[in-house]
């Protein structure tokens, strides 16, 4: 366990996280704030960091295409993890920040990470004007009016790739779960969780072959919590789908070693009205023998949804200190569309 792994452990907090990815929502909650169903989201304040919670993230995925119709996907994530429930100026800060960025093409997959300590200005987030950054990776509000998250600029770079994108929301912020209180297990572990799934995107991807102009759709998740996952939960499968009808679907399945997986879903109507579904309403079934499964059967009978997900690039493995699979998918079946799939807690593919 070198210091870097120690730091990442801290950032990602779960005991077995080194092996399992960042599925852990924290091992202990001592001294940290606990998510409560009575807490109401408040903007723009909640766009900024919540140091009293153990972990938090700003998580953006986007499905993009170039002029020739080639599919691309990008991911931009900033995690915050606290060793103690406060923030301080300078080196005394107990906050640690981790950035992950990915870029998928049908044949290639790029990934990079950044790590920095809080209190130093190297990484952080502010609510107004909104900005989240680590080193030279940056997600910043460009909104003149309305919510800070209505328009964003987004940059990141890594070995062999970079992107610079402009995002404009054409719909409202969407609370997940019950008014933003999202339950993660039958024992009641939960987080505060809201999304902005309505981004239209234009921008440039820089690839070894040269710059590529792209357009597409993006989805931002904001989530913070202090509570550990249930002891027996060892990974999750998460999807965010942009359906051609204009509706969106967020769903996740928390795998459990000892009982059935815990599922949760939010159906988001084209106007942004969310319909949350409790455990069991959504079923997610691997449709390939691959490990992790890069094809899925997704059923939400309540919305007459029965679709097949296929990875645009099955090799979208993020080979970082905490490895996981994350990449764009194509949606076929009862509904058509595109989306993003994230799978944690699987062993690295050969």
């Amino acid at each position: 366990m070198n210091a870097r792994c120690l730091a990442l452990l801290a950032a990602l907090a779960a005991g077995p996280a080194c092996a399992q990815g960042y599925a852990g929502l924290g091992t202990r909650a001592e001294g940290f704030a606990i998510p409560s169903p009575d807490t109401r989201l408040s903007f723009p304040d909640d766009h900024g960091p919540h140091p009293e919670y153990r972990i938090e993230w700003w998580y953006l995925t986007a499905n993009l295409t170039d002029a020739a119709g080639t599919d691309y996907g990008i991911q931009w994530t900033l995690f915050r993890s606290a060793l103690a429930p406060f923030e301080a100026e300078g080196w005394a800060s107990p906050q640690i920040w981790l950035g992950n960025a990915g870029l998928s093409t049908p044949t290639e997959h790029y990934a990079a990470e950044r790590l920095a300590r809080g209190g130093t200005g190297l990484a952080g987030a502010t609510a107004q004007p909104f900005e989240a950054w680590i080193d030279d990776w940056r997600m910043a509000s460009t909104a003149m009016t309305g919510d800070q998250l209505d328009a964003l600029s987004l940059t990141a770079n890594g070995d062999g790739f970079a992107y610079d994108l402009a995002l404009t929301a054409n719909g409202p912020l969407v609370p997940q779960g019950i008014d933003g209180y999202s339950v993660k297990s039958r024992e009641g572990q939960a987080s505060h969780y809201y999304s902005q799934p309505f981004y239209d995107i234009t921008g440039t991807l820089s690839l070894p072959s040269g710059p590529v102009e792209v357009t597409g759709q993006g989805w931002l998740d904001r989530e913070y919590s202090s509570q550990p996952l249930s002891e027996t939960q060892d990974g999750w499968d998460w999807i965010s789908l942009h359906l051609d009808s204009g509706a969106k679907l967020m769903g996740f399945r928390l795998r459990d070693r000892e009982s059935a997986a815990f599922t949760s879903a939010t159906w988001i109507a084209p106007d942004g009205t969310p319909t949350p579904y409790r455990d069991g309403a959504l079923t997610m079934t691997p449709a390939t023998d691959a490990e992790p499964p890069t094809g899925w059967q997704i059923d939400l009978p309540a919305q007459d949804l029965s679709v097949q997900l296929d990875a645009i690039n099955p090799k979208s493995w993020m080979p970082l200190t905490f490895p996981y699979w994350e990449g764009p998918v194509r949606v076929t079946g009862s509904h058509q569309g595109r989306g993003y799939l994230e799978m944690t807690g699987y062993p690295a593919p050969e």
Binding site: R4, L83, A92, T120, W133
Partner: protein, 799 residues
């Protein structure tokens, strides 16, 4: 047939367990010392390779502000502009009366190679331990002991690989301890950093080149060559034992060989059986030796690591990895050694006539002609050694000289001892004395290998300890002289430095210590500007100087360079020295500069300011008679942090501590080699004693008591050790001269004066006698307790 023959051959060892032990122990010891040195070298080489450009913090280019520390915001701005940089904060503190060098690193961004070993894969430390108060600090065990009980320290973890007096800790802890307010000293430029300086993001920052790694490997090479030479020497000493034992075992089994041959065993089969036996024993001893060598290497490695770090700035892990290739090579060297040691014996068996009469003591008798032949070979080796530095330059020639000197002297030893004993016999008046000298001389062939081993060990000991002690004496004297100022002060910033100079007016004289790092004649170097103060003329010793060196120097017409730079480039006073593009000055003189791997040059302060107006002006040496008073005033009135102040006594103590640790390994190997030689004498005496009875019985019958015989046996052992020491002393002194005047110059670039330490010789003489006494004790006790009936058997058995 083979099986029967082999069991007949092996039965010898059952009857001679002591001989078997000697053989195995000798070979195991030889292998152990050799393998230990190899393991250490391999470990070091592995670290250098792994580092390949990322070795130590000095391996990185850095950004720094000549005017002082770097604000945290500047660091953040650089990172946000995409510069891959890692922060370093360091400073000196007085903690519990100890001067502590606090090195703050940022574990999240620092290169992994530079993290303390304690944060390695097996650590059970948690992120909270590391990042939340009180935090963690890594330091050498002696540093931790010295800090015992001091308040406001992080949790301390021992790391023997760290230099004494250094505390490596998280930057947050360093920030707290040094009260740096978030500011930083330097930024390491990590792979992928842009070229050039950051420009408008941080206009004050300057880029500094990494320390030259080629130079480092050249320097460390010489250190490893030193170790290897020691390893070879120990191995040679061990082989003397093995050669003796195998020779004896072959000799004693001559009747068996003859009988086996007479019974129809072909010579080839006999030889192959003996070889098989030898391989078996060598493998067994080799395995033992490897295990032992691994332990020795593990014990020595922390000190080696400290040496390399202290002397050259190379970092090495304090722990040893097990390498199967190394183990195999250890077995290989054991096998090769056993074969070399047995070659002579095997050849004799090959040529042994089937029907010659048995000569049970042939092994111990060597003709005078053979003795002369050996001595001639020794003389030739001596000459070749002396010729080596005349014919070739470099470290290898130096080691050829050492090797020729040692081996030549060893080969000459038997003839010298024989001559000395003849002289003794000629002067002896009493019968017992006459017999003593004559008999000792007759024992000589059987003991000469062991005595040669003793000679090597003693000479090495004298040579190396003379070298180390001379070095230490010179170094101490040099420190006394060179630390001309009583206090050394570093101002936190240029503005503070200016205020300090104003403040000092009327309080104390000060000497600017302003330097820039620059290449000097194509190697890393440093240039200092010094002001015209009489203290330099009186306290700065020049070892090679023009007659009016100081006048020329302060007239801005000359440069002074350190010995390393002068030797590397063959400078003599008057030669042109290039200090920069278009800046050439004649050499006014050279000065000693021990412990500095880099070239260094001094120019007068006006010249320095003219050519390098941007030179940081932070360090100053203060001349004062009232150290405590000035210290207190600087702290209380001027407001200088204690960390920015160091007095020359502390500086000297730190330097000497590093120096002493540097030579711990040498001392350990010295002791080990001497022990092996002592063991060689013991085994030789033990084997001889088994053949002594027939020689002593008649003397006893003629009326000498057992007690008297035993006393004479002890005296013989002491006399031989004393005579050997007499030969070893000049050889050792020659060796010391060689180390100081040839090897040191090649390896480090400085030549040291040689001092003599008769008290050390006396001590070593005592040690040699003690070793001889201990070695003789066992056989002699056996003799003193021999029952008369055993003596009688000598007469009765003949019937």
């Amino acid at each position: 047939m083979r099986r029967a023959a082999l069991s007949a051959l092996l039965s010898h060892w059952r009857r001679q367990p002591l001989q078997l032990f000697t053989l195995l122990a000798g070979l195991a010891l030889a292998t152990a010392l050799w393998s230990a040195v190899q393991a250490i070298n391999a470990e070091a080489r592995r670290s250098y390779d792994a580092a390949a450009g990322t070795l130590g913090l000095g391996a990185y280019e850095t950004l720094g502000d000549p005017a002082g520390r770097i604000p945290l915001a500047t660091f953040a701005a650089l990172r946000r502009a995409g510069w891959p940089v890692a922060p370093i904060l360091e400073g000196r503190l007085l903690v519990a009366g100890e001067r502590l060098h606090v090195l703050g690193i940022e574990p999240i961004s620092a290169p992994v190679e530079n993290l303390p070993a304690g944060l390695g894969p097996d650590s059970d430390l948690t992120p909270a331990d590391l990042f939340l108060p009180p935090g963690l600090g890594f330091a050498a065990p002696e540093t931790i002991a010295a800090l015992d009980g001091a308040p406001d320290l992080p949790r301390l973890i021992a790391d023997p690989a760290l230099p004494p007096g250094q505390l490596v800790t998280d930057i947050a802890v360093a920030d707290r301890m040094l009260e740096a307010g978030g500011d930083l000293d330097r930024l390491l430029l990590l792979p992928g950093a842009p070229e050039g300086t950051p420009g408008e993001i941080a206009p004050a920052l300057r880029r500094t080149a990494p320390q030259d790694q080629g130079d480092l490997s050249r320097l460390t090479d010489s250190f490893h060559l030193n170790l290897t030479a020691f390893g070879l020497l120990s191995f040679a000493v061990g082989l003397f034992i093995v050669h003796g034992t195998i020779g004896l075992a072959f000799e004693q089994r001559r009747p068996i060989f003859r009988t086996l041959r007479a019974l129809g065993l072909p010579l080839g089969t006999l030889l192959s059986l003996l070889l098989a036996e030898l391989l078996l024993l060598a493998l067994l001893a080799g395995a033992l030796g490897i295990a032992l060598g691994y332990l020795i290497a593990g014990a020595l490695l922390p000190d080696v690591a400290a040496t390399l770090r202290g002397l050259y700035g190379a970092s090495l892990p304090g722990t040893l990895a097990f390498d199967p290739v190394w183990a195999l090579s250890g077995l290989g060297i054991a096998l090769a050694g056993a074969l070399v040691a047995a070659a002579h014996g095997l050849d004799k068996i090959r040529r042994m006539p089937l029907l010659a009469s048995a000569q049970p003591r042939a092994w111990t008798t060597v003709s005078a002609r053979a003795l002369r032949r050996q001595a001639a070979a020794g003389a030739a080796l001596l000459l070749a050694g002396v010729a080596a530095p005349l014919l070739a330059d470099g470290l290898l020639a130096g080691f050829a000289l050492l090797g020729g000197l040692l081996l030549g002297a060893a080969l000459l030893l038997p003839l010298l001892l024989s001559a000395a004993l003849s002289l003794g016999a000629a002067r002896a008046r009493r019968a017992a004395a006459q017999w003593f000298w004559a008999d000792t001389r007759q024992q000589l062939p059987g003991l000469s290998l062991a005595l040669m081993a003793l000679l090597l060990a003693l000479a090495t000991n004298i040579g190396v300890s003379t070298m180390v002690s001379s070095f230490r004496l010179t170094f101490t004297g040099w420190l006394d002289q060179r630390l001309v100022s009583q206090l050394y002060v570093t101002a936190p910033s240029e503005s503070e430095a200016a205020r300090l100079r104003d403040w000092l007016k009327g309080r104390a004289d000060f000497l600017p210590i302003w330097k820039v790092d620059l290449p000097l004649h194509d190697a890393p170097g440093e240039l200092y500007g010094i002001s015209d103060n009489p203290v330099y003329r009186s306290h700065w010793p020049l070892i090679d100087a023009a007659p009016d060196a100081w006048d020329q120097f302060f007239a801005n017409e000359g440069v002074l360079v350190n010995e390393q730079l002068a030797r590397r480039n063959g400078f003599a006073p008057g030669d042109p020295v290039t200090l920069g593009p278009g800046w050439v000055l004649p050499l006014a003189g050279t000065y000693s500069d021990y412990g500095n791997p880099n070239g260094q040059a001094l120019v007068s302060l006006p010249l320095m300011l003219q050519h390098h107006p941007e030179v940081p002006r932070l360090r100053h040496g203060l001349l004062t008679d009232d150290i405590p008073g000035l210290t207190a005033a600087l702290h209380d009135d001027f407001g200088l942090p204690r960390a920015n102040l160091i007095n020359n006594e502390t500086l000297k103590a730190t330097s000497l501590q590093i120096f002493d640790r540097t030579f711990t390994v040498t001392a350990a190997l010295n002791v080990l080699t001497l022990s092996v030689a002592g063991f060689a004498i013991l085994t030789a005496l033990l084997t001889l004693s088994t053949m002594r009875l027939p020689q002593l019985a008649p003397l006893w019958a003629l009326g000498m008591t057992r007690r008297r015989l035993a006393r004479l046996e002890i005296l013989r052992s002491l006399a031989l050790a004393a005579l050997t020491f007499t030969v070893a002393l000049p050889v050792g002194l020659a060796l010391a001269w060689c180390l100081l005047a040839v090897v040191n110059v090649e390896a480090f670039g400085w030549r040291l004066p040689m001092f003599l330490f008769p008290r050390q010789w006396l001590l070593l003489f005592g040690l040699a006698l003690l070793a001889a006494l201990i070695a003789a004790f066992l056989p002699v006790r056996r003799l003193a307790r021999t029952e008369p009936s055993h003596f009688l058997k000598v007469f009765a058995d003949e019937r």
